[in-house]
């Protein structure tokens, strides 16, 4: 069975996403009082779902 590719790219995307989940609210959006931080973290949660769904997309039963 052929080896599935793209792991490095996926792992890098997860690392970047987690880093952004901390750096953006505490950097770019720090000190703000609107709904921007909540909106960012809401989008972050959806991005996590999309990324994990992409990661498990190729799973199959032999």
């Amino acid at each position: 069975m052929a080896k599935r590719g793209g792991f490095g790219l996926w792992l890098g995307a997860l690392a970047l996403l987690v880093l952004a989940g901390v750096a953006v609210p505490y950097g770019v959006l720090a000190g703000g009082q609107g709904w921007a931080v909540a909106g960012f973290w809401g989008a972050f949660g959806l991005a996590v779902i999309v990324l994990i769904a992409l990661g498990i997309r190729g799973w199959r039963d032999a």
Binding site: M1, A2, K3, R4, G6, F7, W10, L11, L14, L17, V18, G21, V22, P25, Y26, L29, A30, G31, G32, Q33, G34, W35, V37, A38, W41, G42, F44, G45, L46, V48, I49, L51, I52, A53, G55, I56, G58, W59, R60, D61, A62
Partner: protein, 485 residues
């Protein structure tokens, strides 16, 4: 306040339904340890997903996370979502755990580590660390039940009565049919948790004048809480201190990683993960919204009392409040019984390796009773040492992460390295938190424990040699066969 009679009636109906499910589940059991602890590795994705969700999302969500939002604002959402992002580790580790467990017949995650490194002492130490840090965590679930039931009835349901109720439900649902009764009742409880929380938040927001008025009210009166660090709780240091250990929850906490052993195939595994993701994001958003709603409907409270105060504020109809009380009770019981069963499996398999299957099931049942009794007694006594260990549980259990990652990705990892990493890391966590008084809100604790655990694993492994009986987890061909990385 809610009438105690109404609460007791609702709990009785809930318990009756759970008993029926548990009794039905018991009919499927075959009497082997594998069947009792893993349901014959034949679970489908929906039940496993709901059970995983109910296990991982405990009373913490609608009691503590709501309180953290109430006290510190939106940082609570980010902290919980970093944990949520940690579910990405399942993409890497879920197929490996599942394939290894099927090939070598592992029942507990500690047993898997012991076999990989060729040392029963690795398994015993991993089981011991789980006992030390998870039993106090069970106590907090019990305390959550007590706080809630006494809070919503104005103390008419006492702490002892509330704790006894939680203990009875958790013990019976675990003892009757092991993982089958736990998973089936978990699945129903997950539906109750999410459904009741969703209903409650809809009524709370409606009482505030709808979503627009709610959002406007928060921005106007609680604007500082919409940013980080907010009023002060969510400094970057605190955020990192809490988020780092929780990010690894999916592979460090045996009560959830053991769920990866119970699935019948990869399609079920995929479905389970998708259910957990959907449930997790929805439940997180609800818990945080609940905290912000409490700030407007019941301002000026101690944060731990936010949920009882909101439930009795008059904004939530009594029947919805009762349903949510059941939902939070369900969240606590489903976490408690899963932890008790996993600890039972670890003691039976890792500390009594040579016992017969019947004896291993009996030992597990005794452990379940002891865990529930321990949690109940200490919840009533409110022992400070137990509270400290419970707060330390996420950082404490993180010490198994280097050995777990090394099991699959570093052949040079040795039993001595795993023992040093788990033992040294756990000892450092206890010493820093309980003797030196370093708070779990201080990032130095999580970074030191994680760093020491990783450093010891690598250093001692390099200085020692793998044991001859260590298993080689070379799963590449199997991983390619199932399309996993």
């Amino acid at each position: 306040m809610l009438a105690p009679t109404t609460i007791w009636t609702a709990i009785a109906v809930f318990a009756g339904l759970g008993l029926l499910l548990a009794w039905r589940a018991a009919r499927a059991n075959t009497g082997t340890a594998e069947d009792y602890y893993l349901g014959g590795r034949a679970f489908g994705g929906v039940v496993a997903g709901l059970s995983y969700a109910a296990t991982t999302y405990s009373a913490f969500m609608l009691v503590v996370l709501t309180g953290l939002t109430y006290r510190g604002g939106i940082g609570a959402l980010g902290f919980e979502l970093i944990y949520f992002a940690g579910l990405g580790l399942l993409v890497i580790f879920a197929p490996r755990f599942w394939l290894a467990a099927r090939r070598w017949g592992f029942i507990s995650p500690a047993e898997m580590l012991g076999a990989r490194y060729g040392s029963p002492w690795v398994a015993r130490l991993a089981a011991l660390v789980a006992l030390v840090f998870l039993m106090p965590y069970c106590t907090t679930q019990m305390a959550g039940i007590g706080l809630l039931l006494s809070g919503v009835t104005g103390g008419e349901i006492t702490l002892v009565q509330a704790v006894a109720t939680g203990a009875l439900l958790a013990a019976v649902w675990t003892l009757v049919a092991g993982i089958r009764s736990v998973a089936w009742t978990d699945a129903v409880q997950a539906v109750v948790m999410l459904g009741s929380a969703l209903l409650a938040i809809l009524f709370a927001v409606a009482a505030l004048g709808g979503w627009g008025a709610f959002a406007g009210g928060v921005a106007e009166a609680q604007g500082e809480r919409l940013g980080v660090p907010g009023p002060g709780l969510w400094s970057l240091g605190t955020f990192v201190a809490l988020s780092l250990p929780w990010f690894f929850f999916a592979i460090s906490n045996p009560q959830v990683s053991q769920r990866l052993f119970i699935l019948k195939d990869m399609a079920a595994m995929r479905r389970m993960i998708l259910w957990v993701l959907g449930f997790g994001l929805a439940f997180t958003l609800i818990a945080v919204t609940w905290g912000f709603a409490a700030l407007q409907l019941a301002p000026g409270l101690e944060n731990s009392a936010a949920t009882p105060a909101l439930l009795t504020s008059g904004a939530i109809p009594a029947w919805v409040a009762v349903l949510l009380v059941l939902g939070i009770l369900a969240a606590a019981v489903s976490t408690l019984d899963s932890i008790a069963l996993t600890l039972g499996a670890m003691v039976a398999r890792d500390l009594m390796r040579r016992a017969q299957p019947g004896a291993q099931i009996l030992a597990g049942r005794v452990v379940v009773i002891l865990v529930v009794l321990f949690a109940s007694l200490f919840a009533v006594q409110k022992a400070q040492i137990v509270d400290q260990l419970a707060a330390l549980s996420a950082a404490g259990l993180m010490v198994t992460v280097p050995a777990t990652i090394g099991a699959f990705f570093w052949r040079r990892g040795t039993a001595a390295g795993a023992l040093a990493s788990i033992g040294g890391g756990a000892a450092l966590a206890v010493w820093m938190a309980m003797i030196r008084g370093v708070s779990v809100f201080n990032p130095v604790l999580a970074l030191s424990v994680g760093g020491a655990s990783l450093g010891l694993f690598v250093l001692v492994s390099v200085l020692t040699r793998p044991r001859a009986q260590a298993l080689d987890f070379d799963l590449r061909a199997d991983l390619d066969r199932v399309g996993a990385w």
